[in-house]
Point group: C2
Chain length 228, copies 2
């Protein structure tokens, strides 16, 4: 499948590389075509990898990953172009974290909103699915880095879009992501980052995730109901 | 030990009952002495249980649990009285959740702040320790309800206060709560509630919690480093 990845940072590179690895054609998008990091990524990722502008990447295929910094996401998506995102599945991986006032970071969204919702409002014709933002870039494509059974979330207003993203997530190794409902689920998924960042400091590693535990888990792993 | 519990709701009742059960003398505080719910609780909890005003409960012993609604917590603590809280360990269990605009609830604190910090600022002579707010009232005193090995957090500026609270938590069944550092850790602990509330809706039960998972856990449970 042809997949566009917006963003050349750790998240964009890691996800784009993994998507190429599992067999997709991936175009990485940056503010300007020929971005040094994007070219280096194409070189490293090899066959199936290409690069261009945000608009080039968004126009490339039916699925677009937003891997830009949360505070720059709306601007990057505007550069990608509403026309290029129309009808597309827009997988939002970004987090609205503002590090400008130092640590601890704060969320750049007001209470009662989320970046996922902002993006869906700004691009009503895109089918926004929020996912993967609750784990580190390296864990996103390699859930085995934190053991065999941690939980991932997804949410969005478009059920077929979520089903398709679920398929992609399975290719990355995520067995049964938990569907948190419509795009408002992004509020909890993004707010959790404040706990994630604190845990990152305490644990001294970003190779961790959470698992939802219930009594049934203690009684018999096999009895754990499917949550997705 | 003599423990004051502010609040007569589900959280106050469940925690106060459990604290009596493990051998403490507990005074439940309400806006007015003789509150119907507080009297009913005393009746049910039996020996070791008493009730009074917020001030009566705060003056009762060296440890005070704030189990009031988050949106009313500062007012309740003001009624309890700064003098009655001076030098006390103030265990803040409350969450700044605003349900007034319907679901999903929003946090009533601004970004970059938390209720735990607000309380510590308002009562600088109290030794605030935030904990237990990330699980349901019933799970707080009975972690076995969600299996044998889920994670709890605590944070606060006063190390000896945290050590004492850790002892109390052990009596309730919490083996090794994760210390998130100073009271700013409350930001992540409270923001997580937005994810918790969404999961509550999806799972259809409040008998759940999270466990932090890392590769080491998958390799050998025994190798899991102590996080506290």
């Amino acid at each position: 499948m042809k997949i566009g990845v917006l963003g050349t940072g750790m998240v964009g590179s890691a996800l784009a590389s993994r998507l190429v690895e599992v067999g997709h054609e991936v175009r990485m998008g940056a503010r300007e075509a020929g971005n040094a990091k994007a070219r280096a990524w194409v070189e490293a990722a090899g066959r199936g990898a290409s690069q261009g502008t945000f608009a080039d990447a968004a126009a490339f295929g039916p699925i677009v990953f937003n891997c830009t910094l949360g505070t720059a996401a709306l601007e990057a998506l505007k550069a990608a172009g509403a026309a290029n995102l129309r009808g597309k599945i827009l997988v939002d991986v970004s987090n609205p974290l503002d590090f400008s006032k130092g640590m601890p970071a704060v969320l750049s969204t007001p209470q009662g909103d989320s970046l996922g919702e902002s993006i869906q409002r700004a691009f009503p014709d895109a089918r926004v699915v929020k996912t993967l933002n609750t784990v580190n870039a390296n864990v996103m494509g390699h859930p085995d880095r934190v053991g065999s059974d941690s939980d991932l979330f997804l949410c969005g207003n478009d059920e077929p879009a979520k089903a398709e993203v679920r398929g992609l997530l399975a290719e990355l190794g995520w067995k049964n992501p938990i569907d948190l409902g419509d795009i408002r689920g992004a509020r909890g998924m993004e707010a959790y980052l404040l706990l994630w960042l604190t845990l990152y400091g305490v644990l001294g590693t970003s190779d961790f995730n959470i698992r939802i535990v219930r009594k049934a888990d203690g009684l018999a792993a096999a009895s754990r109901p499917a949550l997705g």
